[in-house]
């Protein structure tokens, strides 16, 4: 993606405090947050309607695995970051092709990682 284009980001996160703070963070960094989804269905619907260019996905949505959302993103060739309190080993390969970041992660690192997957920097 061209770095002069504003990338549209989907945030899949069930913890509102984290989701809104992440949203503020991304907006300040120049991204457009098209959706904050706390539930899998909402996330899948947005991905299906091609409403985003990349995503930040929490692995666990109130006990429900977000891996279908990851699979849907991967199927469309959309880059995404998995942000989770679980370690990659604990997730046991349910999120292939993902950039993994452990919660809590520093905001600057998240922005940096997002820029690198969106603009391939």
């Amino acid at each position: 993606m061209d770095k002069h284009q504003q990338a549209r980001i989907l945030i899949v996160e069930d913890e509102p405090m984290i989701a809104f703070t992440l949203q503020d963070l991304l907006v300040e960094a120049g991204f457009k947050v098209t959706c904050v989804a706390a539930k899998l269905e909402k996330a899948l619907a947005l991905i299906e309607s091609a409403g985003c260019d990349a995503a930040i996905v929490d692995a666990n949505l109130a006990g429900v695995s977000a891996s279908p959302a990851a699979a849907a993103l991967a199927a469309r060739g959309l880059p995404f970051i998995v942000l989770s309190g679980y370690s990659p080993e604990q997730l046991q390969g349910a999120f292939p092709a993902a950039v993994f970041m452990k919660k809590p992660s520093r905001p600057a690192k998240i922005i940096q990682a997002l820029k690198s997957i969106v603009y391939k920097q």
Binding site: D14, I18, Y86
Partner: protein
Amino acid sequence: MHEESPTELLLLTENAELRTRLEGAEETLRAIRNGEVDAFVIESAAGPRVYTLQGVDAASNRLRGEILAQVSDAVIAIDGQQRVTYANAAAERQYGIGASWALGQLLSKVYETQWLPGAKAAAETALHERGEWRGENIHVRLDGRKLHVESSVTVLRETVDQSAGVLAVIRDISGRKEVEDKVRVSEIRYRRIFEAAQDGVLLLDPDTCRITDANPFMTELLGYSHDQLVGKELFEIGLLKDEGASLKMLQKLKTEHQVRYENLPLKSQRGRHQEVEVVANLYDENGRAVIQCNIRDITERKRVEEHNKMLMAEVNHRSMNLLAVVQAVAQQTARVGDPITFVGRLFDRIDGLAASQDLLVKNEWLGVDVADLVEVQLAHFKDLIGTRVLLDGGLPARLTPAAAQGIGMALHELATNAGKYGALSNSEGRVQISWTVSAGNKPTFLMSWLEHGGPKVAPPTRKGFGQMVIGRMVEAAVDGTAEIDYRESGFSWKLSAPFAAALQ
């Protein structure tokens, strides 16, 4: 007198002959006893044999006395009147008496006899019929000490029918009995441990590799009866995979005396799969080798280990998540104010998060009662509860963990604002906190925070963290809507959420 039959005549003749022979024998015995005979000759099938009798002269008597004195068993003789006529040195020691005192005493003065059940009658019969008895009983000494004894008693006959007394050789077997008793107690005790053990125990003969004994837990574990187990080899009951494994274990046992298998899959007779841990030891049992295998069913332990691992992972996940929330709160709090104000506000908010977290853990993450949540989030104003802060919860309502976290944070912000600018910032304002569930097709959880009597209200000039928390954040947490009104007469906050999203 009636006429005697030929048979009777024959019997009479025989009787007369027997009487003559008996009289002769008695005369002989009397002569022997009196020392009138030095020796006699008996015709036997092997020809005549000469028996020499020791004289009953003083020298011979002394010799007999010496012999009896040296004997380690107690020897006591009594006459027909139960009076002691002889007691050797061992008897003196055994009963703690002096022979000079004992002679002439009634035997019952020397010791009291306690018979084992049924023994007394048996002894009397034996003495009467055979003239001797051998058996065990208890003698109680004058000092009360009990001796377990084994006695050999012979009737001394002066003449054929007249009982002249008895001679008893008495051995103290208390020591032996004590050892036997200890062995028996030990056997019962360890047998009970074996029988009641909650581990399987197998005993094997190292020469044949076959099972010689198995405890009840083992039969329960495998589903084989005791009889089915005895005689089998380990691989035959599915504990080792084949004869080769059995031999390997034996070899290792012989060199190392212990073999341990941490995880052996075991299939019981009933087809149940279990995980077992086996420890085999080679022991020496009084010069004979025996293999003892302890088999522990670790299926449950494995399950608990897995469960604990899962719980630990979950705890870790939740703490990471909570840290991420704290990070987000810190970031949001940092948007306004100077560093000192920031630290104060951040700490207040962390206190609020900690209070909700504490409640959740106390409730095992199964939800939190609204009244409890209100109480912990209004801890600063607990003295005003019931007077200026009125709670009105029509019924107990349990919030889901996510709703509890969101509403908890909102209550914290509402209370902080009320204390700083609202109804709790002066001395007469009031706050009414209510919650209820509306009936109908779509049951809804309703919660409200209504302030009265505070300073005149003005809407905030900018959207801060508090607005976000009591607005879109709590809305997202309960999938509901929050209505916020900065009316001049008093601030109000009304939350409504689908029952299923907010309550358990």
